[in-house]
Symmetry: C2
Subunit: 310 residues, 2 copies
């Protein structure tokens, strides 16, 4: 079924408010889920609500807590999410480094003691709106089996990267793993000949920049003991390197050339971002798609909290 | 055949000096090639010498030119390699951002008008020697076919990442593509089901941070018209986020846990860096391996320049 994004947003703000988040935080959390659903990234949209609610009930997430800046340098910030949602701390951190990068050219944030932060792309889009290039990383629960191993250890570790282009930005946003018949694998699959150790390398890089730098749990340990995720965000100012309009034109021209390469008959060449911006336009008009299970969960939560479901 | 690294170095310094590089630059260029050969990365060692010599003869590389810093901010530097070797400009740039990152927490360099810079890992190791985390990227000649395309367009675009660990650093260093029966493909191979568009995404990210940000050629255009490569280096100071010894211990402990996971019988789990540091120890003792074709080229160059071949 489909519901209009404005109705989804209204419902979510009410739910988050009832769950103990203040008005601003509720608006922001709702926006991250609606944004994901609009872009067709349903796995990071309202589908996550029941899980969030469960973590709040268990005390894993504490909605009243405020994210805190622990330490700052001209190009860096270390943020404690204070056991609240990752979205709240990461927006705070990203806004902070956007200001810094305008002066230094580049800035990074590490967020510790955090939780799920929605799509990684949300934060690179904040950077893009400020005219900057953005990178966002998070560790996750352990799902991925390293090369030659027979047990999961690494996170599905998301990587997002946004760069200004027309008619929409280059927007890469996804897990660093692949879902295959045999399970969840590093990019390259389960075959050493496909260089899957390179996929493992990418996964470990994210473990190092998130859980290790943040001194939080690595993905492998988020299911036993303390459940915390860590995030890393970087923004850089393209205006330092050249006229932003020229850089945007050059990027657009390269992406268009890729889209127009000779291709396999019957196939199209899409570049990262094409799918999500097409769905964004479509879903803004037609509404976002909600699967049956998620709609049932929305109704249960609505009943529990006394909120009408759209 | 094998030759001792000291002999290789001596030969290379003499060659580079005769080709017109000054003493310091010759020493540095020799070091980057010997270092690659010692680490078993022969494709980026003395194998490249004949190509470098050819580009100097053609005027693509001008050994007398000096790399210049075009612009600086507290966390960024834009460097013009001035049509000389990439190694010279990238070492200059990396030294510069190492100093900056100590104050800002993070710093980046973009190098334009450059050429081949050896292994990307060389620059992340400069960062590691200064106690910092390093990232290095370069574009290359176009070898890689985007998802669903039937012609090469993207570079094999190298990505290196170094993070302090014991007994050696985590050291990821390689092309972002895979060599397969059908040609050179993005990570994930030529099958959409293996999420090869994610591999394509990684490749394009590097195109954007190198050729586009530097306003140089994108990989696709380095074989027609102007032949220039562009590079991107980032260093970050882990000491801003926590005690460097603790971070190193935590990284080591995670990597050891990966190496010791349950695994496929008869297979070992290696993490990035294990192979190259093992070969480094072995080759320091036994000498570096030189293939027959490369040794012939060394002899030809030796005869041409009046230099004894080891």
């Amino acid at each position: 079924m489909r519901i209009q994004a404005t109705d989804e947003r209204h419902y979510l703000v009410e739910v988050f408010t009832k769950l103990g988040f203040n008005q601003d935080d509720s608006q922001l959390l709702a926006d991250t889920l609606v944004d994901a659903d609009l872009r067709g990234i349903s796995s990071h949209g309202i589908q996550r609500l029941a899980w969030y609610r469960r973590m709040i009930k268990e005390g894993t997430i504490i909605p009243q807590n405020k994210a805190k800046i622990i330490r700052e340098l001209p190009g860096s910030v270390l943020v404690d999410a204070n056991q609240n949602m990752g979205q709240l701390a990461t927006v705070l951190a990203t806004q902070k480094i956007i200001e810094k990068a305008k002066k230094t050219g580049v800035a990074i944030a590490v967020i510790r003691n955090s939780n799920h932060f929605g799509t990684a792309g949300y934060y690179t889009r904040l950077a893009l709106e400020a005219g900057l290039v953005g990178v966002a990383l998070t560790n996750t629960r352990p799902l991925v089996v390293p090369t030659n191993a027979t047990q999961a250890f690494l996170g599905s570790n998301a990587f997002a990267f946004g760069f200004p282009a027309s008619p929409h930005p280059f927007m890469f946003d996804g897990a660093t793993c692949v879902v295959s018949g045999g399970g969840v694998l590093t990019l390259g699959g389960n075959d050493e000949e496909n260089s899957n150790y390179k996929g493992m390398g990418n996964s470990i890089v994210i473990e190092l920049l998130t859980g290790i730098l943040a001194q939080g749990s690595i993905s492998a340990d988020t299911v036993s003991g303390k459940h915390d995720f860590s995030q890393f965000v970087m923004v850089l100012n393209p205006a330092f390197f050249g006229d932003p309009e020229v850089l945007k034109k050059d990027a657009t021209s390269m992406l268009d050339r890729i889209r127009q390469l000779e291709h396999i008959p019957g196939k199209e060449i899409w570049v990262p971002g094409d799918r999500e911006y097409r769905l964004l336009a479509e879903n803004k008009e037609k509404g976002v798609t909600i699967d049956e299970k998620t709609y049932q969960e929305m109704k249960e939560i609505g009943t529990e909290l006394g909120i009408d479901v759209p």
